[in-house]
Symmetry: C2
Subunit: 151 residues, 2 copies
């Protein structure tokens, strides 16, 4: 299969990456391992908090978004990873049985000035719940191989 290289993507491209229903069991299991704060793992503490019940760890929500981004875009791309993110924002709580939909927009694509085998693709990802309320957003820069590379 021919993968998407740097030359195959363009600023302004928008991809709707599908949706995923989160379950309480899955969000709690994630938080027990990686973010065991009471609002994420302890039903009664969460009910007594300002949130009124269990909410997802923001890292779990990020993981769900990443899975949709990989399945719908990066798995088909000659991507070499990412330097990181700017402005990861948790904008509203994610609760059990929410359905999270993800959209990715390429906001910039530029060739590396120092290495001619790659380019940098800047992506803005947005996640919304079933009420179209924004729950998460991030800006990420990914490294894509150019067609002249040997990989």
């Amino acid at each position: 299969m021919t993968k998407l290289h740097f030359e195959d993507v363009r600023e302004g491209e928008i991809r709707e990456l599908g949706s995923y229903r989160v379950s309480k069991d899955e969000m709690v299991a994630f938080a027990q391992r990686y973010d065991p704060q009471p609002i994420h793992v302890d039903e009664s503490a969460a009910e007594a908090s300002i949130y009124g019940g269990i909410i997802a760890s923001g890292w779990y929500t990020a993981g769900v978004c990443m899975r949709l981004l990989v399945d719908g875009f990066l798995i088909d791309a000659a991507s070499m990873g990412s330097f990181g993110l700017d402005e990861l924002r948790w904008r509203a709580p994610v609760r059990p049985d929410d359905v999270i939909s993800v959209r990715n927009e390429i906001v910039d694509a530029r060739e590396s000035t120092s290495r001619d085998d790659r380019g940098y693709v800047k992506n803005e990802l947005t996640a919304r719940n079933q009420d179209r309320e924004e729950v998460l957003s991030w800006t990420a820069t990914n490294i894509f191989l150019r067609k002249n590379s040997n990989a």
Copy 2:
């Protein structure tokens, strides 16, 4: 137990949050669920890549850092969550059996100007491997309750 409120933390405070040895099984299991790119889940594809072998999903590394931050700091704090992160950076690959050490520094602490029950605590987290090489960093703003709050 009395939790750490906004008034109990200070700009300039540094906390060494301990370390964690990552295993190949755990990083691959995480990536199979949340970031199934070949360099994270496919041994032979990873060996043929520029990385020369399996590397951790950056999201897994972030999860390990978060766990150390919760266990060593946030679990004792009257924290109400976080708006998000700025400048999450994956600076070097994390590989099986690396030992990741995490340090957190409070770089700013200011009262909310609109809500008198809370303040905003800005944290810079840095993770290094067993060779003291920086592998991840982030800046996060957490919401801490003030002592005059009812929570």
